[in-house]
């Protein structure tokens, strides 16, 4: 389906090296996901299920937390709202996935933020295509490897409070968010959402506070879209 040595030649070693570095980082995010998910009580088969079937980091963290809180409906709703951003991203890279249906169907599943970002950063269609496929395939593979490694670590740790895994989880989420929060509107939205979610936790049923944080979008402001900020958040 994709010839990796051709991909490598098309991109040049510098871009390929950058993509590999991001892939390794994503592997560690997958490791955190696997460890945190089993420590929360999700059985290993379901943890792997999330990583293979959903393959969208942020929404996997969110869904696991909300299912564990006892609200599967909020888990689905929150996860889908989180992944709604994939729609405009997909529109932006649709030309990269033109060609045979088999390619299109498979390539669609590999559409994580990083693959879109690397593809859009390339100057011409052949290189856009190569960057997309290299990022997508590599990140999918390393995400699964990381998830499985994390499952072993999480099972060994047991109680998340031991070794501070419960503190690692929110810190991991903030690290995922940071590229967007460095932008003024992102910071404003993030802070308001955090306050609303925490405050509403004292009366709203489990799972709902995180969704209520979406009211922060009212403070998004109206400045125009900057393509260079089209990165990350799982």
């Amino acid at each position: 389906m994709v010839n990796m040595s051709t991909v490598w030649r098309t991109l040049g070693w510098r871009v390929a090296r950058d993509i590999t570095a991001v892939g390794v980082a994503v592997g560690f995010v997958g490791l955190s996901f696997g460890a945190i998910a089993v420590a929360t009580g999700v059985p290993p088969w379901a943890v792997v299920g999330f990583s293979v079937v959903v393959f969208a980091g942020g929404s996997q963290f969110l869904a696991v937390a909300l299912v564990a809180a006892g609200n599967p409906v909020a888990a689905i709703l929150g996860g889908l709202l989180l992944n709604a951003r994939h729609l405009p991203y997909a529109m932006a890279v649709a030309d990269v996935l033109s060609g045979s249906w088999r390619r299109r169907l498979f390539g669609t599943h590999l559409m994580v933020d990083e693959a879109v970002a690397f593809a859009l950063a390339q100057p011409d269609p052949p290189r856009r295509r190569a960057a997309y496929w290299l990022t997508g395939v590599l990140l999918f593979a390393l995400w699964q490897v990381g998830t499985v490694a994390g499952i072993f670590i999480g099972s060994a740790v047991g109680d998340p409070a031991r070794y501070g895994l419960d503190a690692a989880f929110p810190a991991a989420l903030v690290a995922l968010l940071l590229p967007r929060v460095r932008e003024r509107a992102g910071l404003r939205v993030g802070l308001i959402a955090a306050v609303v979610a925490v405050a509403s936790s004292f009366f709203a049923p489990p799972g709902l506070p995180v969704l209520l944080g979406l009211v922060a979008l009212l403070a998004a402001g109206r400045s125009t879209v900057d393509k260079s900020t089209l990165v990350v958040a799982g």
Binding site: F28, F50, L87, M91, A167, A193, P209, A216, V225
Partner: protein
């Protein structure tokens, strides 16, 4: 957390996410989203993850947790802000809160 609810969440979230991606591929450049919508979708992701991070950092089943967890998270956030690698952020957060608990902080 029942096996059935897990299967349903994984299946619906998986199919839904794939559909969002695939619809975007099918639309391609045949249609344009309004700039406002294109801007709000990624910011919505920020709102959800920030809300999750804040509640996970501060609360346990609707009550404030002890100080060890938020302190560890804060250390991780500072590390992330200083552009430490992801794995360092996670390890610092975990290590600080584990150390505080060892020292008797709840």
């Amino acid at each position: 957390m029942s096996a059935t609810s897990l299967v349903v969440v994984i299946a619906v979230l998986g199919v839904g996410t794939y559909s969002l991606r695939f619809i975007g591929v099918l639309i391609g450049d045949k249609m344009r989203l309004s700039p406002l919508v294109a801007r709000l979708l990624p910011l919505g992701a920020v709102a959800l993850l920030a809300g999750l991070a804040a509640t996970a950092a501060l609360l346990d089943a609707g009550h404030f947790t002890g100080a060890a967890r938020p302190a560890g998270v804060l250390a991780g956030v500072v590390a992330a802000w200083l552009k430490f690698p992801f794995i360092a952020v996670v390890v610092i957060a975990a290590a600080i809160s584990a150390a505080l608990r060892l020292a008797g902080v709840p």
